[in-house]
């Protein structure tokens, strides 16, 4: 949870951020995945803000103004509705907030396993790519050249 204390957002901002993140990507038992408000995932989101922190803060300020009160003061139904209406406004700060949520969510071990990927960095193991069907090229090989030879112009 160290990321939460060092991320540069206030406790109120973090509370709104976490609540809206949970609406953006909710937990889903069908796919056996946590929501973006999961403690580990949200700590990763908060600790990753870096150069985007001010955009995220601007989005959260706009959210508070749009909602008229902290999301925590609303029941789930109203908070969810307000959150989606807010996200539909688009604009750079909201897009940045969305990107921060998605970038951290789609590297969580549980989420990676759910989509059929090993939870690891690409290096050093890499991936296997099937060679493919090279016989498809035979008809292309049979074509006459289509590049324009300037020496014949």
């Amino acid at each position: 949870m160290d990321g939460l204390t060092k991320c540069g957002l206030s406790a109120d901002e973090l509370a709104d951020f976490r609540r809206i993140a949970g609406f953006m990507i909710p937990a889903d038992a069908t796919y056996d995945v946590p929501g973006a408000d999961d403690p580990l995932i949200f700590a990763d989101i908060a600790s990753s803000l870096g150069v985007d922190r001010e955009d995220v803060r601007a989005a959260l300020t706009s959210l508070r103004q749009f909602a008229g009160c902290p999301l925590s003061d609303m029941d789930d139904g109203r908070a969810e509705r307000v959150s989606f209406e807010f996200l539909a406004q688009q604009g750079r700060p909201i897009q940045t907030l969305g990107r921060m949520v998605l970038a951290a969510y789609y590297r969580d071990d549980r989420v990676m396993r759910s989509i059929g990927r090993e939870p690891r960095a690409p290096y050093p193991k890499g991936h296997t790519v099937p060679d493919g069907d090279w016989s498809l090229l035979e008809v292309v090989k049979a074509r006459a050249p289509i590049w324009r030879d300037d020496r014949k112009a």
């Binding site: 889903d28 990107r99 998605l102 890499g126 790519v129 006459a144």
Partner: protein, 534 residues
């Protein structure tokens, strides 16, 4: 200001062209120094080493220097351009942040005036460059398949990258449509090559290859150039090129890593700073003798900027494709490359068929365009997108127009107080028609592949980082900045070897041709050493 010892040749910039010219000139045994404002990259620093590999494309490995904003970058005012500027400052330059697609320009690209009545012919031909293309392919280590009827014959030294599921699907569809396709030439090692390991399909080639399979110039030309005696000083940012009483370049003033001003005298200065950095430096080198900027009697320094408009069309198929596994670009099509009088535009484009992005990038990009919803349906929709995407890029030829230009921004400066470049750029009517033609063909291909949920981006992803044309070559000093072998008409010991000398842009990624040109110019210099300044 401190002053260093004189060198014979001073190269400014250690990217694709600077590396090639340094290596080629090294066999003259002249004293050669290269100044690079960036630093060496460490493979262990590349994003694919960590779990945050995708997120870092938006921060320290972002392609826009304005967003990346490393201390080694300089800002660029591209507010008045529909396309944004991409670059990288470091040993290897743009080849660090590079997809390694390695097509050559076509013969017709050098003859657009003669063949199609537009722009200008180059003062050299494809055939002048052909031996240097071959040499560069060997030096860089290019993978590809001989026999392509879409391009002149050539023999890449390594076999092609795998077609994979994605390439196979593209091939099936292109055959159905009866259109040309071929595995792309890529600067990625498909077998162990000259000390580099073969590709292991990290899949995230653009922001640096942690495995060293991608042929960035820091691991191809530079080790050999250094071994041959070239000196490379990093974190040294050149402020201006100085001239003497004879109007010849006398050296440069640069800021060393501690920020101290240093004068570096040189007999010959070579600019290899790309199509934005080179005109910026020439314009920043104005003096009483050269009041409009150095080498700018034609008034063309900075003008005719070409950026390669590059629309993308994507869609999603039902069965699983390669996703981010494997080098990004797998095949190309030259079906629409050459001028066809039946169309409403001249010149043409390459279609590039992509494998595309990783799990987080898919989510981010799909969310941005409204294909991936927030809320309860997020997970179901996401699973129909990730690893199901096909994407085709349309690499359009951009013709030169003087109003597309690099100038000095009156306000913006870099961290050393040097005026930053400003970009003014619009897409021409011919190019706009070409883009729409390419978008329509890409859409046709994707629909024939059974793709749904199609999305076209005309400029959203338009950061190809191809910076061309701002110090064009030519025989007429009134209509060009450098001659047919890269020497400035106005300053006979000043050379330019980067993409700024391009007369036209072709419809291909430029690095292969940039490096072939650098080798060609270096060879010309070596052949003329006794009369270099005549």
């Amino acid at each position: 200001m401190s002053k260093n010892e004189m060198v014979d040749v001073l190269i400014i910039g250690a990217g694709a062209s600077g590396a090639a010219v340094a290596w080629s000139l090294a066999d003259t045994k002249m004293r050669i120094l290269c100044l690079e404002q960036g630093d060496w990259m460490k493979p262990t620093d590349y994003p694919t080493n960590g779990r945050d590999w995708e997120a870092r494309r938006y921060t320290d490995f972002e392609i826009s220097p304005n967003r990346r904003a490393r201390d080694l970058d300089y800002p660029i005012n591209d507010d008045n351009s529909v396309m944004k500027i991409a670059n990288f400052n470091g040993v290897g330059g743009g080849t660090i942040l590079w997809t390694a697609h390695f097509p050559r320009m076509h013969p017709s690209d050098f003859r657009v005036k003669s063949l199609d009545g537009v722009a200008d012919d180059w003062p050299i031909s494809y055939w002048n460059l052909e031996p240097y293309f071959e040499q560069n392919d060997r030096m860089v280590g290019v993978s590809g398949l001989p026999g392509d009827p879409g391009v002149p014959p050539h023999n890449p030294p390594m076999p092609p990258i795998p077609l994979g599921r994605t390439g196979t699907r593209y091939g099936q569809v292109m055959n159905k449509l009866g259109w040309h396709w071929w595995p792309s030439d890529v600067a990625v090692a498909t077998r162990d090559y000259e000390g580099r390991a073969k590709c292991i399909n990290l899949g995230h080639c653009t922001p640096g290859c942690a495995h060293g399979a991608k042929a960035s110039a820091d691991i191809t030309y530079w080790p050999l150039a250094l071994r041959a005696g070239v000196e490379l000083r990093t974190r040294c940012r050149v402020r201006e090129i100085t001239t003497n009483e004879h109007g010849m370049a006398s050296g440069v003033v640069y800021y060393d890593p501690e920020g101290k001003e240093v004068f570096q005298p040189a007999e010959v200065v070579i600019l290899a700073s790309n199509g934005v950095g080179t005109p910026r430096l020439l314009l920043n080198s104005a003096s009483s003798r050269f009041p409009n900027g150095l080498a700018n009697s034609s008034g063309l320094v900075g003008k005719n900027l070409m950026l390669h408009p590059w629309p993308q069309v994507r869609g999603y198929v039902e069965d699983e494709m390669d996703g981010d596994r494997g080098p990004m670009t797998c095949i190309w099509s030259k079906q629409f490359y050459e001028t066809d009088p039946e169309r409403d535009f001249v010149r043409g484009y390459t279609l590039q068929f992509m494998r595309v992005t990783g799990p987080a990038s898919e989510a981010i990009q799909s969310s941005l365009v409204g294909h991936l919803p927030w809320g309860r349906d997020h997970h179901r929709v996401y699973r129909s997108l990730v690893n199901h995407r096909l994407q085709i890029g349309v690499a359009c030829e951009d013709l030169p127009e003087e109003h597309n230009r690099v100038t000095l921004d009156p306000v913006l400066k870099d961290s050393h107080g040097i005026p930053a470049p400003r970009i003014d750029y619009t897409i021409s009517a011919n190019c706009a028609r070409m883009m729409e033609h390419g978008i329509a063909r890409a859409t046709e291909i994707l629909e024939a592949a059974g793709a749904k949920n199609l999305y076209t981006s005309r400029t959203l992803l338009n950061y190809p980082g191809h910076l061309l044309g701002t110090c064009r070559m030519g025989d007429d000093p009134e209509r060009s900045v450098v001659n047919a072998w890269g020497r400035c008409h106005d300053v006979k010991n000043l050379f330019v070897v980067d993409g700024s000398i391009w007369v036209t842009s072709g419809g291909v990624n430029p690095t292969s041709t940039i490096q072939a040109l650098a080798l060609y110019i270096a060879d010309n210099m070596k052949q003329r050493l006794a009369t270099l300044f005549d």
